[in-house]
Amino acid sequence: MAVKVSMKVNGKPVSADVEARTLLVTFIREHLRLTGTHVGCDTAQCGACTVHMNGKAVKSCSMLAMQAEGADILTIEGLAKADGTLHPMQAAFKEHHGLQCGFCTPGMVMNAVDFAARHPNASEQEVREALDGNLCRCTGYHNIVKSIVAGSKAMAGAK
């Protein structure tokens, strides 16, 4: 069944006729060609597909595009400024070596940005718990946690 879906992605209104069974991540990657959002596990475990829906981190492989009808979606492509200046969380990942292969990074950063916005002074322990839904096969997490602690401070300072 083909259905029409409309939403805002990174500030721009988009709409398309899609099959009702289209996942949000498929819509983002294959219809909009925004391939920064990754598919790691496709089973709701790894968080590589994390995007924001109305400001909240969600796993885009675990929902239909239709569930995002009318929503504001933010993907990793929408974080940096138009002139290329990195978002403070992205800059912190770069500075603190929060990535190796980079596959998990878009999801890590999107979850971290949402988390930091709600918990400006989070402890290292709280950051580790907030990463329950994001898996990384390279870094051993330590530098990711350091990056998020630093990125949270930078985000709070930039306000």
Binding site: T43, L64, G133
Partner: protein, 265 residues
Amino acid sequence: MHAFNYHRPSNVNDAAALAAKSADSKLLAGGQSLVQAMKLRLAAPTDIVDLGMVKDLAGIKSDGKTVTIGAMTRHAEVTGSAEVKKAIPALAVLAGMIGDRQVRNMGTLGGSLANSDPAADYPAAVLGLGATITTTKGTHAADKFFKGLYETALRPGEIITSVSFPIPKRAGYMKFKNQASRFAIVGVFVADMGNGVRVAVTGAGPCVLRLAEMEKALGAKFAPESVAGLKVKSDGLNSDLHASAEYRAHLITVMAKRAVEAAMK
């Protein structure tokens, strides 16, 4: 995923009518269980009735005696709710232990109860507090709602609209979680209702269950030592690659003791 017809009703009557139309239709709430099941083709509904735009299904109200939570209320809203934290802190804690942040931003109370996963958290609070489940066809007492493995008293097309939780004198929830999935290997909800104690266990059996012996012991004296010595029989408990039935039986006592400690804090 198999193809399906998609419906997006805006009120609960239309949703119920759409759900009743086809025998193989499914309601869609957060999708955190259903979308994955459809991807694996464990579920292949002909019709999806999306509750996402249905008015008045989400929200939290408290009247001093009960806390009523709409079926479409996300786990993140329950764990963050000042009203829930004040009236039934154990319920806010429980909602915050479900899955991960992303899952909590989408998953709903109604979806969790309708799914009745043997290792889900909410059923422990619903049974532990003796909550009332309101649907489009009437109400269900918690004691008669959970029927077995992924089985509830809901009839086809019946939609959960809200759940009313009586406010206990004190309550606590403890779960020993599976480190990979975060689901409960064993979770115990203990509630001192003022006129009696209820103990509900999730993760251990085909669905959530009560423990009469512990309820009696805690009714006589609400203290960790009342349950610390009680051995639970492993007959009929789940045994899988995560834990044997004997280990789960042991964990029930340990989690019950810790839940009582949490309730007394």
